[in-house]
C-alpha cells in the first residue's frame, strides 16, 4: 500500500515539476530568466510577463485564431465521425471493411511525411494561408481515429434500442439522434477532445499553412518569442500557461460525460 502511494507521488512529481517550472519562469523578473536554481517561488515574483503578453503582443488574436480553428475542427470531427462511425457500425455495404482498414492505415504515416503532398494540394485548392485550409487539414488528420472510436462505441449499444425506436415512430435517422447519440456521449466527448487538441496545440502543419501573422495560431505565436539572438522566456512561460487554461476548462467541463454504464438497464445484461 505504502509503496504504491510512493510510486504515485513519484510520478506525480515527475509530471508536475515541468509545469511548475513554467509557472516559476512566468513569474520571474527579467534579470532572473535564465536562473538554474530550483527555488519554488522566485524571489521578487512579478506578473509583468502576463501584462506584456496581453497588452503589447498579439496574444489575444492568436488565441482567437486557435479557438476559431479548433472549434471548427471539433464540430466537423464530431459531426462527421458520429455519423460515419454509426454507418460503419450498423450497416452492411460494399467496401465496409476496406474503408475501415484504409482509415486505420492513414494513422500509420507520420504527419511530417504528409506535409509536402498536403502543401501542394492546398496550393492547388487555393487554401494556403486560410483558416479553411487549416480546418480541412486538422479535420482530415483527426477523423480516422474519431471514426474508429465512435464505431467501437456504437458496437456496444444494442441494436434493439433503435429497433424499438423505429417501431415507436422514429425514422432510422431519428432513432440515431434521439436514442443512440445521447447514449454515445462518452465517445462523443473523447472525439471532441481529440479533435480540439489536434488543432489547438499543433505547430508543424500550422507553420506550413498559416504564413500571414494575422492568421497565426497560439503555437506559431509562441514560437515568435524565440528570436535569433534571444528568447523572451518570461512571455513564453506566461503564454504557455494561458494556452493551458481553455484546455483545462474544456476537460473539466466535458469530464462529467466521461462515465461508463450509460446503457445500463436498457437490455438484460
Amino acid at each position: 500500500m505504502i509503496s504504491s502511494y510512493a510510486m504515485l507521488v513519484l510520478f506525480s512529481v515527475i509530471a508536475l515539476f515541468p509545469v511548475w517550472q513554467v509557472v516559476s519562469i512566468s513569474l520571474r523578473p527579467g534579470n532572473k530568466l535564465l536562473s538554474t536554481d530550483l527555488e519554488f517561488i522566485p524571489s521578487n515574483p512579478s506578473l509583468k510577463s502576463f501584462v506584456t503578453l496581453l497588452t503589447e503582443r498579439d496574444f489575444l488574436i492568436w488565441m482567437g485564431n486557435s479557438a476559431l480553428i479548433s472549434i471548427a475542427v471539433t464540430i466537423t470531427g464530431v459531426a462527421i465521425a458520429s455519423m460515419a462511425g454509426y454507418g460503419f457500425s450498423r450497416f452492411r455495404f460494399p467496401g465496409k471493411n476496406m474503408g475501415l482498414l484504409s482509415l486505420l492505415t492513414t494513422q500509420m504515416f507520420p504527419a511530417t511525411m504528409l506535409l509536402l503532398p498536403m502543401y501542394i494540394m492546398l496550393i492547388k485548392l487555393g487554401l494556403i494561408n486560410t483558416y479553411v485550409g487549416a480546418i480541412v487539414m486538422y479535420s482530415a488528420t483527426a477523423l480516422p481515429f474519431c471514426i474508429w472510436t465512435m464505431k467501437g462505441y456504437y458496437d456496444t449499444i444494442p441494436t434493439s434500442l433503435e429497433e424499438a425506436a423505429r417501431i415507436d415512430g422514429c425514422s432510422q435517422f431519428a432513432a440515431f439522434y434521439r436514442i443512440i447519440l445521447p447514449l454515445a456521449a462518452p465517445a462523443l466527448v473523447i472525439t471532441a477532445l481529440f479533435s480540439f487538441m489536434t488543432a489547438w496545440s499543433e505547430y508543424v502543419v500550422a507553420a506550413q499553412i498559416l504564413q500571414d501573422s494575422s492568421l497565426w495560431t497560439l503555437p506559431l505565436g509562441l514560437k515568435s518569442f524565440e528570436a535569433s539572438m534571444s528568447t523572451e522566456w518570461g512571455l513564453y512561460g506566461a503564454a504557455s500557461l494561458m494556452v493551458m487554461i481553455p484546455v483545462v476548462i474544456l476537460f473539466l467541463t466535458l469530464s462529467r460525460w466521461l462515465v461508463s454504464g450509460l446503457t445500463l438497464g436498457s437490455v438484460k445484461g
Binding site: 429497433e163 423505429r166 417501431i167 422514429c170 431519428a174 450509460l262
Partner: protein, 367 residues
C-alpha cells in the same frame, strides 16, 4: 384491431442462406397466435418481417388487409416487446412509455392520461420517475409492455419477452399477458421457444422448424393430433417417447419393438391406417402420461417390463426414466406420486395403446 396475413413468406440472407420458407399463416382479428419452435427455426425472423425490421425476400405481409412489405415499422401501427426489454436507458419509465405518443404529436394531457392508464394496468405507477437501471427484471419487462400498450396499436408483437425472467416471474407474467389480451382484445403475435408458454397462452399455435411451418392448430388439437413426429416431440413436457418397431400380423396387427423389448396389439381403430405398413418399420409415439404403473388395477393396455434408471419426484407426480436393458435408449413415464419406484429395479408398466401415435419412419408424418 386487425388481422394479419402471411402469404408465401420467404427470407434469405446474404449468400442465399434460407431462414424462412413459404410461411402461410392467417391470423384473425383479436387472436393470440404463438409461433413456437427451437432456436434457429425462423420464428423470430418471421416476427421481425411482420414488424418491418427485416426485409421480405419473397411473399407478402398484410396487416388489416393492407400490403405492408414496403412500409417502415413506424407506419405499420404495431408495437413490439423485445426479449431484452430494449428500454431507452437515458429516459425515465414515464418518458419510455410516452416516447411513441410524443413522436406522434399527442397533446400533453392525453400523453399523461394514457401513460398513467398503462402504468396502472401494469402496476408500475410508482416507478414512473425511475430510470430503467433502477428496476428489477420483471419491472423492466412491465415497462416495456407499457410502452407497447400505450399507443393502442393494431397488432402487438412479442419476441420471447419472458425468456430473461426467472421461472416464478415467468409464470406470473405469462398470466398477466394473457389477461392483458383479454382486456385489450387486440391481435397479438407471440414468439417463444417454450412450448408451455405456447400451450398456455395461444388461441392458435404455429410450430416451426428449419424455416418451415410444421403445423398450425389450437393447443389441444396440436397435443392430441400432431401432424408429424417433430410436433409430437416438441409439444408436451416431458416430451413424447418414440419407439421404432415393425408392424406384423395379418388380421390382428401387432407392433414389435425393434430390439424385441415388447410387443403390443394395435387397437382396431388404428389398424385400418396401419395395414399398409405391415412388414415395415414405423415409429410408435407415446406420451409419458399414457404409460401407467402396472400395479394399478382396472387399466387396459399392453404390459411391458422396463428397467428404471432415474426417479424424479416433482411433488404432485413423479417422472420415471426407464430403458430396455441397462444401456438402452432412455424413455420417460409420468406417474402419480403415490409410491416411488426404485431406481435400478425392473418395473411392470402399461402402455395405453389407445393413446398411441404412429409415424412413418421415412417421412415422419403421422399415419
Amino acid at each position: 384491431m386487425a388481422s394479419v396475413r402471411l402469404e408465401n413468406l420467404k427470407k434469405n440472407y446474404e449468400g442465399g442462406k434460407s431462414v424462412v420458407n413459404n410461411v402461410n399463416v392467417d391470423i384473425d382479428d383479436k387472436e393470440f397466435v404463438v409461433f413456437v419452435g427451437p432456436s434457429g427455426c425462423g420464428k423470430s425472423t418471421t416476427l421481425r418481417m411482420i414488424a418491418g425490421l427485416e426485409d421480405v425476400t419473397e411473399g407478402n405481409v398484410f396487416i388489416d388487409g393492407r400490403l405492408v412489405n414496403e412500409l417502415p415499422p413506424k407506419d405499420r401501427d404495431i408495437a413490439m416487446v423485445f426479449q431484452n426489454y430494449a428500454l431507452y436507458p437515458h429516459m425515465t419509465v414515464f418518458d419510455n412509455i410516452a416516447f411513441g405518443l410524443k413522436l406522434r404529436g399527442f397533446p400533453k394531457p392525453e400523453v399523461m392520461k394514457r401513460v398513467h392508464e398503462a402504468a396502472s394496468i401494469l402496476g408500475i405507477e410508482e416507478l414512473l420517475d425511475r430510470k430503467p437501471k433502477a428496476l428489477s427484471g420483471g419491472q423492466r419487462q412491465r415497462a416495456a409492455i407499457g410502452r407497447a400498450i400505450v399507443r393502442k396499436p393494431k397488432v402487438f408483437l412479442f419476441d420471447e419477452p419472458l425468456s430473461n425472467l426467472d421461472a416464478k416471474l415467468r409464470v406470473q407474467m405469462r398470466t398477466e399477458i394473457s389477461r392483458l389480451h383479454q382486456r385489450l382484445e387486440t391481435t397479438m403475435i407471440y414468439v417463444t421457444h417454450d412450448q408451455t408458454e405456447a400451450m398456455t397462452m395461444g388461441d392458435k399455435i404455429v410450430v416451426m422448424k428449419d424455416g418451415y411451418v410444421q403445423q398450425i392448430a389450437e393447443p389441444l388439437e396440436l397435443y392430441n393430433h400432431p401432424r408429424n413426429k417433430f410436433v409430437a416431440g416438441f409439444i408436451g413436457s416431458p416430451a413424447m417417447n418414440f419407439f421404432e418397431g415393425a408392424i406384423v400380423g395379418a388380421t390382428a396387427l401387432i407392433f414389435r419393438e425393434q430390439q424385441g423389448a415388447f410387443k403390443l396389439s394395435i387397437p382396431r381403430e388404428k389398424s385400418r391406417k396401419l395395414r399398409g405398413y405391415a412388414g415395415k418399420t414405423v415409429v410408435l409415439g407415446l406420451r409419458p402420461e399414457h404409460i401407467y404403473r402396472g400395479s394399478l388395477k382396472g387399466l387396459k393396455g399392453a404390459k411391458v417390463s422396463v428397467d428404471v434408471q432415474v426417479v424424479e419426484p416433482m411433488g404432485n407426480e413423479i417422472y420415471v426414466y426407464f430403458s430396455f436393458g441397462k444401456n438402452g435408449k432412455q424413455h420417460t413415464a409420468r406417474f402419480d406420486a403415490t409410491t416411488m419406484p426404485s431406481a435400478g429395479k425392473r418395473l411392470e408398466v402399461l402402455f395405453d395403446t389407445s393413446k398411441a401415435h404412429f409415424f412413418d419412419q421415412e417421412t415422419e408424418m403421422v399415419i
